[in-house]
Symmetry: C2
Subunit: 112 residues, 2 copies
DNA sequence: AGCATCTTCTACGCCGTGTAGAAAATTACG
DNA sequence: CGTAATTTTCTACACGGCGTAGAAGATGCT
C-alpha cells in the first residue's frame, strides 16, 4: 500500500528533490503542469493519508515534507514486491544476475 | 504495467503452480471462492490482454497458461520499481543491505 | 434438430486518482 | 476593527481498473 498515481509521483519527486518542506503553492508553481492549487492540496492531503508526507500544521501556509527519502521508499517497494514471491532466493538470484557490471561490482563490495 | 488485482493474482498463482494450461472451469474449481465461471473468464481475458496469460484457442475449452514464470514476473516487477529511481546503485545497496544472512550468502555465490 | 457446454458481450458497483469550484478559515493591511 | 487576500477544507465529478455476473451467441455431441 504505497503505490502512486502520476501526479502523486510528480509531487513526491518535488518533495524528494527539494530537501526542505514546501507549501502547496510552491509545489504548484514548481510543477510543469498548470494546475489549480486546490488540486495540489487534495493530492498532498491524500499523500499525507498514505503516510508519504508529513504536514506541518503549525505554520501558515502548511508545509509538506516527504516522510521517507526516495531511496527508502524505493527499497520499501522492492521489499513489497519481493514479499509476493514464495521463492525469494530464486527471484533474487535472477534479479541480481541481470544487473549491470558496475552495479554487480558495487554489490560485491557491499556484500564484502 | 503489470500490476494485478486480488482475483487476478489468485488466478495467476493457480496457473503458475500448475505447470500446465488450465481451462476456465478448472481454474474456477480450484479457486477457494465460489465464483461464476463467467467471472473467471472475464479475468482470464483481461490477463490475456495484459500479456500475462496465453490462450490456446484451438482446443475447446480454451486453455490458459502463464506467459512468464512467477520468478520472471517478479523480476520484471522489481526492475520496474527500480526503474523509477534515479539513484539505482544507492537503492540497490540499501536493498541488499537488508536481506537475510542466508540470502546474502547466496548472492555472494552468484556474484562471485 | 435438440441439448449441453463454452465463450462473448454487456453491464453494474466500488474505489483510486486527477481535477477543481464553493465555501469556510485564517491572515494581512489600511 | 473591517475588508481584502491567502490558504485550507469540503464536496464533487469523470474516468479507468477490477470484481462480479447474467443474457445471449457459438460450438459441439448425440
Amino acid at each position: 500500500m504505497a503505490s502512486l498515481g502520476d501526479l502523486e509521483r510528480s509531487v513526491m519527486t518535488l518533495l524528494w528533490d527539494s530537501g526542505q518542506p514546501l507549501s502547496a503553492n510552491e509545489v504548484c508553481e514548481q510543477l510543469d503542469d498548470d494546475l489549480a492549487v486546490t488540486t495540489v492540496l487534495t493530492v498532498l492531503a491524500r499523500l499525507e493519508k498514505k503516510g508519504m508526507v508529513q504536514r506541518e500544521r503549525s505554520s501558515r501556509p502548511h508545509r509538506y515534507a516527504a516522510m521517507a527519502t526516495r531511496e527508502e521508499h524505493t527499497v520499501e517497494m522492492l521489499n513489497e514486491v519481493l514479499g509476493t514471491a514464495p521463492d525469494r532466493e530464486a527471484v533474487l538470484a535472477r534479479f541480481i544476475g541481470g544487473v549491470s557490471d558496475s552495479e554487480a561490482a558495487s554489490l560485491r563490495r557491499i556484500l564484502g
